[in-house]
């Protein structure tokens, strides 16, 4: 029997934190431009990149290997 995957819990928690961070109420009325984009938009571009990093870790470290093993 395979041991418990130690990455799974923290990565699931990271996904939940991302879900919370998606609601950036603190930038709601801020029109400051960052690299030419309004900060409210730039934040979500960065959010997308952060999501990509967490998901990459998820598939590398917490992949459900048993699915390919099933008959």
């Amino acid at each position: 029997m395979k041991g418990k995957n130690v990455w799974r819990g923290p990565l699931y928690a990271a996904l939940f934190v991302l879900f919370l961070l998606h609601n950036d109420l603190w930038l709601w009325n801020d029109a400051t431009l960052v690299f030419g984009l309004p900060v409210g938009l730039m934040y979500h571009v960065g959010f997308s990149l952060a999501t990509g990093i967490v998901l990459t870790l998820l598939v590398l470290k917490a992949w459900p290997d048993h699915l390919d093993d099933e008959p």
Binding site: N29, A31, G36, L58, V59, L60, L67, E70
Partner: protein, 505 residues
């Protein structure tokens, strides 16, 4: 005329790729409907992403950004970038494994066997097809308005829609899933490349991103913040909408095309970045358009991206960019047509007409006939529909997303029953109809104006119905569960079955 010529050449290339794919056709129904379950990681990434990128994403998002500002990206793009890959990770991979083990070609086949119920399968078929129709309409309408705009009205909207239907008809019916996937790959690459070129060309013409945004800051500063355009509750509850990707029949069927579970890895890892690459240009150009076209209505907003291209990048570039818009439209449209044809063939004709015994040739022929029929009906409906592409899409996604508890229960919850799934599906159908009737006339409808999207309420209700309906009815038979949870003990469910029987006397 240059633009038109480029579009004609582009459509010719698409057609050629789709028809060429037929040379690799193995003549089996599994090949026609799910490309013989052979797609590797890269092709799966591009085709799944392409199948989920619609006219809604490109034309609709630009139009909505034109009306509501930058908040549209957070509402739909970055939330989709988080939710959709998570759905693929938890649901898509498991559905693929079940589909491969049990030979499924459609979602209805899975649900029917999972809960051992023909009636439930039929109900889910009707609901999924009914919700798919508005999604199909988005494609035809987007094609029509694009061709009209890029040719300055030379080609009427009905011709554009007809052209899209005819091209898709040719390669989907001839090439099957393989044709659809090959074309999707080509079109997604075109979309990603041309989206970037459009963005760069137009922004350069406007003196750079900073200067372009300053124009909007001067004319419509409200578009650079969420402000009153979007409410905090709306941002939170909109996150439910991308759950629809776990219920779309065309996504489900695309999952089944994977060679192995590991093929999903790049799809999950790169999906958020791919979404950002497509949506950023659309949203930014939609916002920038407000300075150039201050008075477009809702209907005009649908074509604002094409108008920007015409104004700032005419000639050859406009033709190429219009081709990029077409690629987005056809990418998902073809998958949806293919899925609807597959479902009619497998879930209705084969199951009810032939009791699941039907030759490979017959299945393919019937599939083709239904794909033609679906295209004809969709095209005719597109001629009499005038809704905003974005709003039409949101209602359609709402219905699919609200069915998500049914999929989750089917995959993970052994104790779920057909009655729970039935209660959940009927709850979705009734509430969805009520909300559509209530909110149809109000383009920005949220519940009592609070910002809460109807999808959140329907989702909660359908979850409650799934749980309540299951716990109040007899647990599924052990032999049924053994098919879907081979490694897990069914002892607890059997205990509950005994308890249930005792309670009922």
């Amino acid at each position: 005329m240059t633009t038109l010529a480029i579009i004609v050449v582009y459509l010719g290339v698409v057609l050629a790729i789709g028809l060429f794919s037929h040379r690799f056709f193995r003549g089996t129904s599994e090949d026609f409907f799910v490309a013989a379950r052979t797609l590797g990681p890269f092709i799966l990434l591009v085709s799944l992403f392409g199948a989920n990128m619609t006219a809604f994403a490109v034309l609709g998002s630009a139009g909505e950004a034109y009306m509501e500002g930058i908040g549209v990206f957070a509402l739909m793009a970055s939330s989709s970038g988080l939710v959709i890959p998570v759905v693929f990770y938890f649901i898509g991979t498991r559905v693929w494994a079940l589909g491969k083990r049990r030979g499924y070609l459609t979602p209805v086949q899975f649900f029917r066997e999972r809960w051992d119920s023909d009636g439930l399968g039929l109900l889910l078929f009707v609901v999924q097809i009914a919700l798919l129709v508005p999604y199909l309409l988005i494609g035809v309408m987007g094609g029509g308005s694009t061709l009209t705009q890029v040719t300055d009205g030379l080609v009427p909207g009905w011709v554009g829609g007809l052209v899209i239907c005819v091209v898709v008809l040719a390669y989907v019916t001839y090439g099957g899933m393989r044709g659809t996937v090959w074309v999707n790959v080509f079109q997604t690459v075109v979309l990603l490349a041309l989206g970037f070129i459009a963005f760069w060309a137009i922004v350069s013409k406007l003196g750079g991103l900073d200067a372009a945004m300053q124009r909007v800051m001067a004319s419509n500063p409200d578009l650079l913040v969420r402000g009153e355009h979007i409410k905090p509750w709306q941002l939170l509850t909109y996150t439910c909408i991308p759950l629809s990707a776990g219920v779309f029949p065309h996504m489900f069927i695309h999952w089944l095309t994977a060679r192995n579970a590991a093929s999903f890895k790049p799809v999950i890892a790169f999906y958020p970045v791919c979404i950002a690459i497509v949506w950023i240009p659309s949203v930014v150009l939609g916002v920038l358009a407000r300075a150039d076209f201050p008075d477009l209505g809702v209907a005009g907003a649908n074509s604002v991206l094409v108008q920007m291209i015409n104004l700032h990048a005419p000639g050859v570039l406009a033709g190429l960019l219009a081709a990029g818009v077409f690629s987005a439209i056809m990418n998902s449209f073809d998958s949806q047509v293919h899925a609807a044809g597959t479902m009619f063939t497998q879930d209705i004709v084969r199951h009810y007409g032939f009791h699941d015994r039907m030759s490979e040739k017959q299945q393919i022929m019937v599939g083709r006939i239904f794909m033609v029929a679906i295209l004809v009906v969709t095209y005719l409906l597109s001629l009499v529909t005038t809704r905003s592409i974005f709003k039409l899409g949101v209602w359609c996604f709402t219905g699919f997303a609200a069915l998500f508890p049914v999929v989750v229960a089917a995959v993970f919850w052994k104790r779920s029953t057909k009655w729970g799934a039935l209660a959940s599906t009927l709850t979705v159908a009734v509430l969805w109809i009520c909300f559509v009737i209530h909110g149809w006339k109000d383009a920005g409808y949220t519940i009592a104006g609070t910002g809460v999207m109807p999808v959140a309420v329907i989702l909660l209700a359908s979850t409650a119905a799934m749980i309540g309906g299951s716990l109040l009815t007899r647990p599924p038979a052990a032999e049924t569960l053994a098919k879907f949870f081979p490694d897990a003990s069914t002892g607890r469910v059997e205990d509950e079955d005994r308890l249930y029987s005792r309670r009922r006397g």
